[in-house]
């Protein structure tokens, strides 16, 4: 027989005005199993809490119900008090007779009757309640950062500076990402590489950062605080421990005419190469697809000229397993580059723009490379087809973005600003040139952004035409741009020497596959989903995984850096304790009766349920049952409602508790 104490609060007059609290306390005292009941003016006050603690001791109470305000208000307060009195805090519950009763009803009899009923139900809940202990999960204080662009670099440096070890994994041969490709950055026009490369070097030199470039995530297992990540190190064909970065191999490589990815295919590189001069690490990689040695077996020049003997044609992909406690995903973006609808993609192409067939129609990133001092033209704006300086350049915004009919409805966020920047860079370099911009809206929210845009229009003489382009075609050495000017209400035709498309920002290729490995969710465009759009913008719904940068949605550099630091702060919060404490409201499996249909696993949004083998003493498989990882379980209870035999049960909301409450109705 239980010994429950019921404490009815007046809340000053807030409750007692409409509810006869004395009667409620009296009725509660008559419920079988209630050993003590009383009413008091302010239960949450110090004397009130003392009253509760004393009563627990004096009446040897094994459960406590406080009939007062909403548990969302004071549940923690009273559970603490109960704990201080030596009770398990989960044996203390609250009956909400204020928000759900006295404040919303006027008739005293009816309200009192309702309050009695609420107390009656909640007494049953306390009676069937169980002692629960908080779940503790050990935390491995090492972080994994996926992606070595500005987002990953910022997050890695912040976590490493806090004294924790960081593993950074980058798919390309060098870190730096897209920011390393940019010429100048808005709104200050400072040189991107000048601010980026020092950070890259910091990563390489940081004692707390292990950098794996030319590597990919193979497999992710485990859960918050305890992930095991298998990293695949792609064969570089160059031994990083031996290479001195002298670069002789690159100068001697006979195959030099390979379009350079870093320059968007507009510069050339050899088959053994570093993507760009400031690459980190400065260790070349052999592009096996284009290397004569790998294709025909006849060359081997680089190995011959390499003093330290670092070139290794036999190198194979290798794998390492890293134990980490938290993961920051910072895989960034790519630009929309399709000219026709790819097979199976919901996104349409822009064949009508001649994109991909007319050489002088380029995208924004290519323009960055043309404008960059380290680019293929040495910073001169020269058009790709004939190397002439273009005198009329048309910039088109929102190519792919905000185009529902093409399959992408979102705004890519950075194009308005970088197009304005492009017109300025162009005007600075080609003084007699004219820039035209076709735009839908100029979106410039950001510090100093609108001033920057106005400068492009008012001082740098860019002609902004509000309207979209329908078609472009080559006529002679000009590109005829057919568009509309909706402010004047007319059709426009411009003969351009060069056209720059501000193509949409999309998640990186393979973003969905990585998400599946990580067990995080993504939207229909493959951008990763944050746990809450407003209040948890850097957390994934999967505990222990955080997002930084454009992999979550289009972002400019300041926003990316902010989010990266925020993700790092989240990691550090997690690492601040040796053990992670979690609310014990999690599901448990009754292995005796579980028949392993795994309906629970199918409905679990957290991926908390695993298959567990039950074996007899001889090691023979008896059956497979569900197992809930308490570190991952979110505590929603959907599994229990789904389980046909109710062999999985959510602590704190057991069927027994709920049924007892219904019986007491």
């Amino acid at each position: 027989m239980s010994r429950i104490g019921v404490f009815v609060c007046h809340c000053g007059e807030n409750i007692s005005r409409t509810v006869d609290v004395e009667q409620v306390a009296k009725a509660a005292g008559e419920i079988p199993g209630v050993a003590y009941s009383c009413d008091y003016k302010y239960m949450c006050s110090d004397p009130g809490q003392t009253l509760l603690k004393k009563a627990v001791a004096e009446h040897k109470l094994d459960g406590v119900l406080v009939a007062a305000c909403s548990p969302r208000m004071h549940e923690k307060t009273f559970r603490k008090a109960a704990e201080a009195a030596g009770l398990n805090p989960y044996l203390c519950e609250m009956a909400n007779i204020r928000e759900h009763c006295s404040w919303v009803h006027e008739d005293r009899d009816m309200a009192t009757a309702k309050a009695k009923d609420i107390v009656k139900l909640m007494v049953e809940r306390v009676r069937k309640g169980k002692s629960l202990a908080p779940i503790t999960v050990p935390v491995t204080k090492r972080a994994l950062v996926i992606g070595g662009g500005i987002a990953g670099i910022q997050a890695a440096l912040d976590v490493a500076d806090a004294g924790h070890h960081v593993i950074m994994v980058e798919r390309d041969p060098s870190i730096g990402g897209h920011m390393a490709q940019l010429s100048e950055t808005f709104p200050t026009l400072d040189c991107s590489q000048c601010i980026m490369t020092p950070k890259m070097v910091d990563v390489a030199n940081h004692p707390n950062i292990t950098l794996y470039t030319y590597s990919e995530i193979e497999k992710v297992e485990g859960y918050i605080g305890n992930f095991q990540v298998t990293v695949k190190h792609k064969a570089r064909s160059v031994d990083e421990s031996k290479c001195t970065g002298c670069g002789v191999c690159m100068t001697k490589c006979p195959k030099k005419k390979i379009p350079n990815e870093f320059d968007q295919g507009h510069g050339m590189r050899p088959a053994i190469y570093v993507p760009f001069p400031q690459a980190v690490p400065n260790t070349p990689v052999i592009d096996r697809e284009n290397c004569t040695m790998f294709q025909s077996g006849k060359c081997g020049v680089c190995a011959k000229v390499c003093g330290p003997g670092a070139v290794d044609y036999e190198q194979k992909d290798t794998f390492t397993v890293e134990d980490v406690g938290a993961i920051v995903v910072a895989t960034g973006f790519k630009l929309y580059t399709i000219d026709r609808k790819p097979e199976g993609s919901p996104i349409q192409g822009y064949g009508e723009f001649g994109y991909g067939t007319i050489p002088d129609i380029i995208d924004g990133m290519t323009f960055e490379r043309l404008a960059s001092a380290s680019g293929p033209t040495g910073g001169k704006i020269l058009r790709p087809s004939d190397g002439k300086e273009p005198k009329q350049v048309v910039f088109i915004q929102c190519v792919g973005s905000r185009a529902r009919e093409k399959g992408i409805s979102y705004c890519s966020k950075v194009c308005c600003m970088y197009t304005a920047k492009h017109t300025m860079l162009y005007h600075h370099k080609v003084h007699d040139g004219q820039a035209y911009v076709f735009f839908m809206d100029a979106r410039t929210p950001g510090k100093g952004y609108d001033e920057f845009w106005r400068r492009a229009v008012e001082e740098e003489e860019a002609v902004y035409i509000r309207g979209m382009v329908s078609r472009m075609y080559q006529r002679g050495d000009k590109i005829v741009v057919m568009g509309s000017d909706i402010q004047v209400g007319t059709q426009v035709e411009i003969e351009a020497d060069l056209v720059v498309l501000a193509t949409a920002v999309q998640p990186q290729d393979g973003a969905d596959l990585l998400a599946q490995k990580l067990g995080i969710s993504y939207d229909k465009y493959n951008f990763y989903s944050e746990a809450h759009a407003k209040l948890k913008p850097v957390e994934c719904a999967t505990a222990g995984i955080y997002l930084a940068g454009a992999c979550q949605g289009p972002k400019d550099i300041p926003d990316t850096v902010s989010q990266a630091s925020a993700a790092a702060a989240k990691v550090m919060t997690l690492f601040a304790k040796d053990k992670l404490e979690r609310d014990p409201v999690v599901a448990k499996v009754n292995e005796k009766y579980c028949v392993g249909c795994f309906a629970c696993k199918k409905v679990c949004a957290y991926g908390a349920i695993e298959e567990k083998e039950i074996r007899d003493r001889q090691g023979n498989l008896v059956k497979k049952v569900a197992y809930v990882n308490p570190g991952v379980c979110g505590g929603c209870g959907t599994c229990q409602a789904t389980c046909p035999s109710k062999s999985i049960e959510l602590d704190g909301y057991t069927d027994e508790q709920i049924m007892a409450m219904i019986e007491a109705l």
């Binding site: 548990p71 909400n96 404040w103 919303v104 949004a605 929603c636 209870g637 049924m659 109705l665």
Partner: protein, 177 residues
Amino acid sequence: MHAEHIKHDFEPKIVAFVCTWCTYAGADLAGTSRMQYPSNVRVLKFPCTGRIDPVFILRAFQKGADGVLVSGCHPGDCHYMAGNFHARRRFAAFRALLSFVGVDLNRLQFSWVSAAEGGKWVDVVTELTERVRTMGPMPEFKELEHEEQWSTFAGASVDKSTVLNSPELKEAYDSIG
């Protein structure tokens, strides 16, 4: 002083199964905003609508509820990501079943009430209470509770010859007399 309360002949018993994150909080907001609604509703708190088993609804009707409300977060707002989506399918199926066996679905209400929708909580509860009040007490499950196995045979409403369609049964029944 308090406004004169209208006394009704019938006060329906309404049970609400709500999720803690949205609807419970919405009901709290109705309280802090001092909105008024009929006092007939008894609230049972769950972490999520995904936790609510159809058996609970059945049991509530058996235990004398005249109306049942199930309410949780709007789609996409679930604190647990997808609990309400699963619940939505489960209850869509359960409704069809109840309707097929002849339960009046006007007694079973589902709603999405967010933590910000104190007003909607009041509307939903008031509407259900008043609707059920005009419908009168729910007799079906209550009657079952009080009936015994053979009572229908004893009653005049059923033709024994169609029910006791085997000699063994007839014999068994007659022996009980």
